[in-house]
Symmetry: C2
Subunit: 130 residues, 2 copies
Amino acid sequence: MAILKENGLKLTKRRKEILSFLIEENRYLSALDVFEFMSERYQGMSYDTVYRNLRDFSDLNLLEETEFHGEKKYRFSCNVNQDHHHHFICTVCGATKEINMCPMDMFKEQLPGCVIEGHRFEIFGKCENC
Amino acid sequence: MAILKENGLKLTKRRKEILSFLIEENRYLSALDVFEFMSERYQGMSYDTVYRNLRDFSDLNLLEETEFHGEKKYRFSCNVNQDHHHHFICTVCGATKEINMCPMDMFKEQLPGCVIEGHRFEIFGKCENC
DNA sequence: CTCCGTGCAAAGCGTTTGCACGGCG
DNA sequence: CGCCGTGCAAACGCTTTGCACGGAG
């Protein structure tokens, strides 16, 4: 949590709770998911605060951010493991499982003239609980 | 184009032009891209018509649909090659290059209890023209 | 001549922003 | 006590929908 202070962000109750919740849940959540959880604890909790904080956390690389295929909303998940990895993602509950294989390791530059800036590899499906 | 008729869609001038444009461009385009092109040909061309047709084409699997990472809008590209494949995608112009390697071939089910429903593998970067 | 396709307008959804108050440090 | 964080409200961008007219079959 020290990272927050280092970047000039104050350690408010709401921030702590949002982060704790994401760490505890350990899966991809929408802003609405977080908002609903927070609303149970703070009456009058506002959507904007959730968004702003998720955005701030994400900018500090505390979170992983993705969009499920065909969905237009952002999904956030707390990034404890800083190593490069990919995910199996449950499209029902957002649960993730780390996949250590990276297709880029197998993929030897067959793109003459192109500058590779990033990649994305995600497996979607239903986890054992859904 | 016969597919349209088979599914009860009429062959209108706008439809033909939208499809031709997508085939000719051979890259991921936003609805706005298509709208702007169409507007040059038909004054009074409406956004809704573009959307409706892109949606219809996509539902008939005539198009590939994706969202660039961090973008909230849909991108469409005409799917001539029906074989399973992945893409290098230029984040500037939307140009694509087919990648024949599929990471799922290397990936032997290490996800006990999970039902795999789909996957996504995309490489992002700049193409030789951008 | 009958429907489907279209343009127009408005609504919808998720997200972002401006402003003034309130609480952390 | 200064400034960042927050709630409220409104705006935003992209997409979708309802309705009545117009064109394809």
